[in-house]
């Protein structure tokens, strides 16, 4: 039944009237309506019936917007005023892949405190969810730390759904808070250190968070960091069993902050969190994520996408307007990121765990070094020619004589690399160690260097070659004289 605009206007006005009077009195009110409104009566009656039961779910939330989205069959819909165990729902705070979080208060008045009540969205896998919630509860119970949202209570609602009552943190996600308060670089780093402290604390208790991202790191009004949501956390060394809802994890995960090994479904260690912290730091500094991954596509395509992850230095990724949000200009921000902060961020974001900071503590220490103006370890030491010679001469097979203060004479050793040729992603470096007499090649090696490490490219190559040369000399090959030849070629 469609009504004209003028009829709707009347209905709307009448509804205003009817909704103001008590539900019991509405029947009398309907009966007393002048007969000119007779045509509207069925609709009005129906609406008032619905108003009584307040059963309408219409417009409750915007449906998911992606064609890839799935409906959760069996979703139970919660609303304001609902009771869950001893709690009464006040308003919805947020909703993620597998849970919704409500602001709630004790309905029995046991205490006044407001809590964030975390409730599962799916009812289908009730059993596995229960186990999952028990796990999260156990993990949370072991994590009492000023920078981790406090865990209060857990239980099962009478209808069998598990809930977790957590500290309600009034605040904003880390990156949003920083921008809203125009937090400068140093203070941003201080905030990051609060995050690393919390993560470190969890790590000491063998807990890997696995889903560190801005929306899980809140900053309270007073500027205190609170780590939230250990929903996909796991205990180190604890292998996922078949019954655990890993498929729910993947659904809840934000791929842009997750480490490659996690996305590939490999077993992860604490360094997965180092990576996510790197991504977080990247965004805090530059204003943008290191990259954006889309999960739409067959697994092989995703794997290929992960292999192609290409991270530009934060200093080159500064988004317009990021400067002012950091109490500086865009240009100055780029300048300040260049070098050490680039290096720290990219080391945390190294795609292989071996290249990454070995621990969150190591990353935090480097940030502290930067803040104190000390040498940042992520920036590799430049190997100077004389150091190379000095190191080589420790080998009994090599004698180095010096003529001038700087350059060696009998053996010509040059810092291997000068410039990088080509604009491709990889370069080929070939190095040869040649015995002088017959131009015999004592040692040679060709390898590829990924340009994402471009900023310390030369030093890395130098270090690698130096080590190889040293190893070659350790074999005791007698060398009258030798020469190091290095060639570089770009390769797309």
């Amino acid at each position: 039944m469609a009504y004209s605009a003028s009829e709707l206007t009347v209905i709307s006005r009448l509804l205003d009237e009817a909704l103001c009077i008590d539900a019991e009195a509405r029947q009398a009110w309907l009966d007393a309506l002048p007969c000119e409104h007779a045509a509207l009566l069925p609709a009005l009656r129906q609406m008032l019936d619905r108003a009584k039961t307040s059963s309408t779910l219409l417009l409750d939330r915007l449906p998911r917007l992606n064609e890839n989205a799935r409906h959760d069959r069996g979703t139970r819909t919660l609303k304001v005023g609902d009771r869950v165990g001893p709690y009464e729902l006040v308003r919805e705070l947020g909703s993620g892949g597998m849970a919704e979080v409500w602001l709630a208060r004790r309905a029995d008045g046991a205490y006044k405190r407001e809590v964030a009540l975390k409730l599962p969205k799916l009812t289908r896998q009730r059993r596995s969810l229960e186990r999952h919630y028990e796990r999260e509860r156990d993990i949370l119970a072991s994590l009492e730390h000023p920078n981790i949202a406090r865990f209060y209570d857990a239980g099962l609602a009478p209808d069998g759904l598990p809930y977790l009552a957590l500290e309600y943190v009034q605040g904003q996600p880390l990156t949003a808070w920083c921008d809203a308060h125009r937090v400068g670089l140093r203070d941003r780093l201080m905030l990051l250190l609060q995050v690393t402290e919390a993560v470190q604390f969890a790590h000491e208790r063998q807990v890997i968070h696995r889903d560190l991202k801005p929306s899980n790191v809140f900053v309270s009004a007073s500027g205190q960091v609170r780590l939230l949501d250990f929903g996909v956390a796991k205990l180190l060394g604890d292998e996922e069993t078949d019954g655990s809802p890993l498929h729910l994890y993947t659904r809840a995960l934000t791929p842009d902050y997750a480490s490659p090994e996690l996305l590939r479904g490999e077993t992860v260690d604490l360094r997965a969190d180092v990576y996510s912290l790197g991504a977080l730091l990247y965004e805090m500094l530059s204003g943008d994520r290191p990259y954006r991954l889309s999960f739409v596509g067959p697994p092989a395509q995703l794997a290929a996408a992960i292999d192609q992850i290409w991270i530009v230095r934060p200093s080159e990724a500064v988004v317009p307007g990021a400067g002012p949000a950091r109490a500086t200009t865009d240009d100055r921000l780029m300048g300040r990121l260049r070098g050490e902060l680039d290096a720290i961020t990219l080391k945390a974001l190294a795609l292989t765990t071996a290249e990454r900071y070995a621990s969150v503590a190591a990353m935090a220490e480097d940030v502290q070094r930067y803040l104190k103006g000390e040498r940042v370890l992520a920036v590799p030491e430049r190997i100077k020619t004389e150091e190379l010679v000095a190191q080589l001469s420790r080998n009994p097979n090599v004698r180095v004589r010096r003529r001038a203060p700087v350059y060696p004479t009998t053996r010509e050793v040059r810092t291997p690399v000068t410039t990088v040729a080509g604009s491709g992603r990889r370069v080929i470096v070939s190095a040869e160690l040649v015995g002088s007499a017959a131009e015999a090649i004592v040692w040679s090696r060709t390898y590829e260097v990924k340009l994402r490490d471009g900023f310390n490219f030369e030093d890395e190559v130098a270090t690698t070659i130096l080590e190889a040369v040293r190893a070659a000399l350790d074999t005791g090959a007698p060398l009258a004289a030798w020469r190091l030849k290095v060639e570089i070629a770009g390769n797309d």
Binding site: N68, R91, H247, T250, R289, R292
Partner: protein
């Protein structure tokens, strides 16, 4: 120059073309943001429209296009832009689906169950709101802000400069109207 601030001011002064320019300006920006969010959002795919509007607001303020004290005016206006963005994208997807063999494969075979989003629902609400706006403009705006903009009742009250209770009543009323009378 504070472009958006100027436009908002001209809208307030009743200039029709200013509203169009303002809309265009914010539309592209919000659409871009929404797209990138949906793309980057991985599995969630739940568009957090409030966050988006906040982010757009911050971007405009940071770029100097908007004065921070125009927050209220911007928010009241941004949800109508958001609605367009959402409705347009729902229409596009509907067209795509009708266009045939668009196949989406999800990452995990365990969650391969894939059902089209509730685009029809979005479009229905949109059309119903057009009718409601004629009969009860304020209630329609409350729905727009809450449903498409994702604002809380408090935020809506602030942006429209009305009582929270009025917002709640309009909301309750609009839902009834939409559900029964506009079917």
């Amino acid at each position: 120059m504070a472009t958006i601030t100027l436009l908002l001011q001209r809208v307030r002064e009743g200039e029709r073309t200013a509203r169009d320019s303002l809309f265009e300006l914010a539309y592209d920006s919000l659409k871009g943001l929404a797209r990138s969010r949906l793309r980057s959002n991985g599995h969630g795919n739940q568009l957090d429209t409030t966050a988006l509007v906040h982010e757009a607001y911050l971007r405009f303020v940071n770029s100097g296009d908007l004065r921070a004290d125009d927050r209220r005016a911007f928010f009241a206006f941004a949800s109508s832009v958001m609605r367009s963005v959402i409705v347009d994208s729902a229409r596009e997807r509907r067209a795509e689906r009708r266009g045939g063999d668009l196949m989406q494969v999800t990452l995990s075979t365990q969650v391969a169950e894939s059902i089209p989003a509730d685009d029809e629902g979005i479009l229905q609400v949109h059309e119903a709101l057009i009718a409601l706006a004629e009969a009860d403009p304020r209630a329609a705006q409350v729905v727009e802000m809450r449903y498409f903009g994702g604002y809380t009742e408090e935020e809506i009250a602030e942006a429209l400069d009305i009582n929270v209770r009025t917002v709640a009543r309009d909301w309750a009323k609009a839902r009834l109207l939409l559900e029964v009378a506009l079917k």
